[in-house]
């Protein structure tokens, strides 16, 4: 079972999930956390739009929401505050308004962006293995070595 280390999109606490899982319930805050990659090619207006995986807003995508993702690519329209644990890529066709927080930012020439920015590795929490998960893996490794 391949395991992915993620952070709960609600409480930011670490979770270990199966790589194929589409969603999990956070064991810390009991919120349902979407863990599948998202491709948004439609109009979405919600308060909060989150995934513990990659999110891509295509040219046809229009999103009015606070967005949270592991990595974000915007080619369409996005209005709302963004948190991305790794990169934020704003393509030349994108129009973005809101605050951005992420580890790195790439704005293609031609992209329009207005808002506050907090970019840098220290601006976002890092997803690291949970203690339980690390112990379980160590035990599995010891067992495999002992065979």
């Amino acid at each position: 079972m391949a395991v992915r280390h993620i952070l709960c999109t609600q409480c930011d606490l670490p979770l270990d999930v199966d790589e194929t899982a589409k969603s999990v319930n956070c064991r810390h805050c009991n919120t349902r956390v979407i863990t599948e990659a998202m491709v948004v090619a439609e109009y979405v207006a919600v308060r909060r739009f989150a995934t513990a995986n990659r999110m891509r807003i295509t040219k046809k995508g229009i999103v009015y929401a606070a967005v949270r993702a592991d990595a974000l690519e915007v080619e369409g329209v996005l209005q709302g505050d963004v948190v991305s644990l790794s990169s934020i890529r704003i393509a030349k066709s994108a129009q973005v308004k809101g605050s951005l927080r992420g580890a790195s930012l790439s704005l293609e020439p031609g992209a329009t962006f207005v808002g506050d920015v907090a970019i840098g590795p220290e601006q976002v929490p890092r997803a690291e293995p949970t203690v339980d998960g690390a112990l379980a893996r160590e035990a599995a490794a010891r067992e495999a070595a002992g065979r």
């Binding site: 349902r32 109009y43 979405v44 207006a45 919600v46 308060r47 909060r48 739009f49 229009i62 009015y64 329209v77 209005q79 990169s87 129009q95 973005v96 308004k97 951005l100 580890a103 790195s104 930012l105 790439s106 704005l107 020439p109 031609g110 992209a111 329009t112 962006f113 207005v114 808002g115 506050d116 920015v117 907090a118 970019i119 840098g120 590795p121 220290e122 601006q123």
Partner: protein, 143 residues
């Protein structure tokens, strides 16, 4: 990297050396390279380059800006602002193009888009023109 600001030493007519500290207003036509410390304001139609050891506490208005060092202040560039891997910027950016390389740190407000960096550019923000939903936002099925 053809699509980036060239920072070859011979291109800079003005250089603030690594052991230099400068306070004041700098207005000129060419390119400046800051290896030391600068406090005040810089105005040029050329480029401004703050190298890895450079520290800038200034209001900068220029053609383009490339950063590898620390900057505390607002940047306005007609063309391009580049934050390279070691750059640390605290301040606002207004430019036509912005590049933030992984590892760079940037905290501030940002206005980027075609025509935004040009002097006398309209104060209206293009993103304000983003088509608003005709109907009041409806909660989508996804959450």
């Amino acid at each position: 990297m053809a699509d980036s600001i060239s920072t070859k030493p011979e291109e800079f007519t003005t250089v603030i050396g690594p052991d230099a500290q400068f306070k004041g207003e700098l207005t000129f036509q060419g390119a400046v390279r800051v290896d030391g410390q600068f406090e005040g304001s810089i105005q040029t139609s050329g480029k401004v380059f703050v190298s890895k050891g450079g520290k800038l506490k200034a209001e900068v208005k220029s053609g383009s800006v490339a950063l590898e060092g620390q900057v505390d202040g607002n940047l306005t560039a007609d063309d391009r602002v580049e934050l390279r891997a070691t750059a640390q910027l605290r301040g606002d950016v207004r430019a036509a193009k912005l590049l933030v390389v992984e590892g760079a740190s940037f905290v501030g407000r940002c206005e980027v888009g075609p025509n935004l960096g040009a002097p006398g550019a309209p104060a209206t923000r293009p993103a304000d023109g983003v088509a608003r939903p005709a109907a009041p936002p409806v909660a989508a099925a996804r959450h």
